[in-house]
């Protein structure tokens, strides 16, 4: 199996893992995290399309690469906006903190 195919399969699994996290977590911050995992998996699929499109003078097709670079920057901007909304929401309402987080905090306080 070539490096590109392996990376593509990794991207496919990452998209699935991210989608799962996006659906099961009630906590919005965990959803943002999962959404980023999903996004990076999709970017990786662009990556193998770029790599497969290699030609003389270019080890990978530059067009999908440029799209991914733009995509990473826009994903960051969207994440920042989502986090800002979340923090504003948290300031106005009781934040959602899962049972596991409470246990984690208690454990840290004990240390």
């Amino acid at each position: 199996m070539s490096t590109a195919t392996l990376a593509g399969l990794t991207g496919a699994i990452l998209a699935g893992v991210g989608l799962y996290g996006l659906i099961i977590h009630p906590d919005p911050l965990r959803r943002i995290l999962a959404f980023n995992v999903l996004g990076s998996g999709v970017f990786l699929l662009f990556g193998i399309i770029a790599r497969r499109g290699a030609a003389i003078g270019a080890l990978a097709d530059p067009v999908p690469q440029a799209m991914v670079i733009t995509g990473i920057v826009v994903a960051f901007a969207a994440t920042a906006l989502a986090v800002a909304l979340l923090i504003r929401l948290g300031a106005q309402t009781d934040p959602v903190v899962t049972q596991a987080d409470k246990q984690d905090l208690a454990r840290r306080a004990d240390d």
Binding site: L9, Y20, G21, L29, R30, I49, A54, D61, V97, Q103
Partner: protein
């Protein structure tokens, strides 16, 4: 053989970290795992010979997103409301897992059945690259062939900052945002923030400059400069600027405004929007990229900082 082992090892590490990011019970370890995930993912990009993407992923996907999310996880600590009733039940979890596995399987099927030979725009990109005066085809796509996309993306960044700022409370409007801070002054982070930026700024400018011919460019260089500013602010060596500062607003808007201005001048100079004059393309591209780098270096830290939380000083 060694190379294949490396690839499989990398894929296994990345998938493990992604799994932990999604499945970890508590939020903070999940965020930390995501940062490591972003950095390892950039190594896969290197293996795909997409070094420009690898640089962007490491700086923005791993680094800056990491700071942003660690800050967000930290800001929410200490508050506790049970939310277990919101967690899906076990049978529902299995059903969701099965459907997501199906989605992944569908994507994997597409990956293994991609057409051969692969469709590509690389020959066209290389054929016309001489007209741009650039040597790096990715930069040529970003700034010349698909300049319109990149210009709109710069506008998206400014709009994102406006969106984030607009979430300020009324009293805080015009005041300063805050970045995640080091707990103690004079610690490792302060030392780091004194030693790293002189080198980091040089590296950032160099990555921007060589981007015309080698992997690098305005995004990657700007992101490194942004990271240096974030480190200095995190260590408390400089204050986060108030959002009403004129120089800050000029720095944020300079990139898109110069890009748009050059684009409109293209009508007169080269007969089309965002067209560059023949034989004079490279100096124009570098000129636009200088302002883009500046704007990216100002925008990304402001996005990390979030909405202003302090009332402006009179």
């Amino acid at each position: 053989m060694i190379v294949q082992t490396l690839d499989i090892g990398l894929a296994a590490l990345v998938l493990t970290l992604a799994g932990y990011t999604v499945l970890a019970r508590a939020t903070f370890p999940a965020v930390v795992s995501y940062v490591a995930y972003g950095l390892l993912l950039s190594l896969i990009w290197v293996r795909l010979f997409s070094v420009d993407v690898a640089l962007t992923e490491a700086a923005i996907g791993g680094g800056l997103t990491g700071v942003l999310l660690i800050g967000a996880a930290g800001k929410r600590r200490g508050t506790a409301v049970a939310a277990t009733e919101l967690d899906p039940t076990q049978p529902l979890r299995w059903a969701i897992m099965a459907l997501c596995a199906l989605a992944a399987l569908a994507l994997a099927t597409v990956v293994v059945s991609l057409p051969d030979p692969a469709p590509t725009l690389a020959p066209q990109a290389m054929e016309n690259i001489a007209t741009t005066g650039l040597g790096n085809p990715v930069t040529a796509v970003l700034i010349a062939y698909r300049a319109f996309d990149t210009m709109l993306e710069k506008c998206v960044l400014v709009i994102a900052v406006v969106g984030v700022w607009s979430l300020a409370c009324d009293r805080c409007w015009g005041g300063a945002p805050d970045v995640p801070r080091a707990v103690a002054r004079g610690g490792t982070l302060t030392f780091f923030a004194q030693v790293l930026p002189p080198l980091g700024i040089l590296i950032g400018i160099r990555i921007f400059w060589i981007g015309a011919d080698e992997p690098g460019g305005a995004f990657q260089g700007g992101a490194i400069l942004a990271a240096m500013w974030v480190i200095i602010m995190m260590a408390g060596l400089t204050d986060v600027p108030a959002i009403s500062k004129r120089w800050l607003r000029i720095a944020l808007a300079a990139g898109p405004i110069v890009f748009l201005g050059v684009g409109i001048l293209g009508f007169a100079a080269a007969g089309g929007f965002l067209a560059y004059p023949h034989g004079f393309a490279k100096p124009v591209i570098i000129f636009v990229e200088i302002f883009m780098t500046l704007s990216i270096a100002a925008t990304l830290p402001m996005l990390v900082g979030g909405a202003p939380i302090r009332a402006p000083r009179p």
